[in-house]
Amino acid sequence: MSMFSLLGALEIGLIFSLVALGVLISFRLLRFPDLTVDGSFPLGGAVAATLISFGHDPFLATIAATGAGAVAGLLTGWLNVRLRIMDLLASILMMIALYSINLRIMGKPNVPLIMEPTVFSILQPAFLSDYVARPLMLLVVVIVAKLLLDWFLSTQTGLALRATGANPRMSRAQGVNTGRMILGGMALSNALVALAGALFAQTQGGADISMGIGTIVIGLAAVIVGESLLPSRRLFMMTLAVILGAIVYRFFIALALNSDFIGLQAQDLNLVTAVLVTLALVLPNVKRRIFKGRGR
């Protein structure tokens, strides 16, 4: 595997680790299965790409994209809390609506950014090549996002949010406005996902209406792979775990792409990825069985 492939896996893995953090908040902490992400990821890409193509500053465009994701999450939460639509259903409704909304925002199915300035092209230091600089910049973004999230979850409001997912009835008895917590949590989660989408469009050369398909699957895979690699209930470790999970997952895909030496073909990519992820899931059980009696 070339350095390019490795750094490419790292780069895309870091972008999707933001998605994984978002899915961690909705799926794990709030126990809210949220398919909105299939719509808010391309929403972020759409808003950022469209604004940039109109000549706006890429940083402002990226921030706007993050804000748009927050609004999408708020709407999903509102459908669930105020209109009492079941969580999964509410998120599916938003996902479907966002398809049309994204098309409207972009005005066409594909908004290219190859010839436009991006946050990466602006911040690119002259002494580094772009395929090294981008992962480094993304690493900074992800670390900052992780630390902010860790801090937030350790605050009173963060605790109230976690309690809302863990035991909503008891939380209400402790004075937590669970409805507001869900709205806030969904907004935060989808803001992270939209940020990822905005950054993805800027590294991929453009936003495409189809870029969101399968985002929830990637996010969940990252969360699950991460949890099997780093099982822990401590917040600091949980956020670290899903980041690692996203990177390892993309690494597995890169591995699958490079497996033509075992005679595998392009069509086998999905199968190989599935096998590798299964191995990741089974690893903890195998460890446990081999070291039986040694205690957890």
């Binding site: 937030f152 350790s154 605050t155 009173q156 409001t157 963060g158 605790l159 109230a160 976690r162 309690a163 863990a166 035991n167 009835r169 008891m170 939380s171 209400r172 008895a173 402790q174 004075g175 937590v176 406005n177 669970t178 209930r233």
Partner: protein, 264 residues
């Protein structure tokens, strides 16, 4: 201090499974009083408790706490004044959170939750001190997930959580029903101590007539969504379980007039 007036709650109104859970339930509890509430299944005990806590909306009627009408307030707004221990130890605590996180959650009850640290170092010491009074060794396990504790231990922590913030009324919803007799006894003694120490106004729903008479200073019996018996003071101290049982059966057997109840 707590004044429930003529509460009516009907489930599935107008359908074949209509259930008139509360039919004109009225109860006034003074500051500092410890009231036990008893009644057969379906008498409306839990329904009444849930109405007071805000979990169940009432169809008609009014609930005042300290003269303030809280009837339309949602659970989380009322939580400022109403503390509660659930029957199911699992339902009353957040399994996935640690002991100190659960207590921190309770400590912030009634306050505006902001971006300050959830578990401050000073609070931790406070929690440790409170847990030490239980004598269960939990003060050394602050960082453990509360799901690892036994039912009795969780109920004990729940009681501490209920008392950690001053509240106007403490609601106990058959909180020893899911525990074995020895643990139930422990929790009950703990209840009495905590209520006395903090001078809490308390309403305890129970299935056990023994408990209803031994604990607190006033016993109220519900039947068909209404109060049918209200004893306190020397009359109550003189009563024993068979006496209460007699009354219980009489109420269930025939429809008594109010005078007969007071005299009987």
């Amino acid at each position: 201090m707590l004044n429930a007036q003529d509460l009516h709650i009907t489930f599935n109104a107008g359908t074949p499974i209509e259930n008139r859970a509360l039919q004109g339930m009225s109860l006034a509890i003074e500051e500092g009083q410890f009231v036990t509430v008893i009644g057969s299944n379906g008498a409306g005990k839990s329904t009444f408790l849930n109405a007071v806590s805000g979990d169940l909306p009432v169809d008609t009627g009014r609930i005042d706490i300290d003269g303030v009408d809280v009837t339309r307030q949602p659970v989380w707004t009322r939580a400022h004044q109403v503390a509660r221990v659930f029957q199911d130890p699992m339902a009353g605590t957040c399994e996935d959170l640690t002991i100190e996180e659960n207590m921190a959650l309770a400590q912030a009850r009634g306050t505006r939750r902001g971006l300050g640290r959830a578990v401050k170092a000073a609070s931790r010491e406070d929690f440790r001190a409170r847990l030490a009074t239980l004598g269960l060794g939990l003060e050394n396990r602050l960082g453990d997930r509360i799901g690892l504790l036994s039912g009795g231990q969780r109920q004990a922590v729940s009681l501490l959580m209920a008392a950690i913030q001053p509240s106007r009324i403490l609601l106990l919803d058959e909180h020893t029903a899911a525990l074995d007799p020895r643990t139930a006894d422990f929790v009950l003694k703990l209840t009495a101590r905590i209520v006395a120490e903090n001078r809490l106004t308390t309403m305890m729903v129970t299935h056990s007539m023994r408990q209803a008479l031994d604990v607190g200073e006033r016993t109220v019996m519900l039947h068909q969504g209404r109060v049918v018996l209200d004893v306190s003071g020397p009359e109550r101290s003189a009563m024993d379980v068979p006496d209460l049982l007699q009354m219980f059966e009489r109420v269930r057997g025939e429809k008594l007039s109010d005078d007969a109840l007071l005299l009987g």
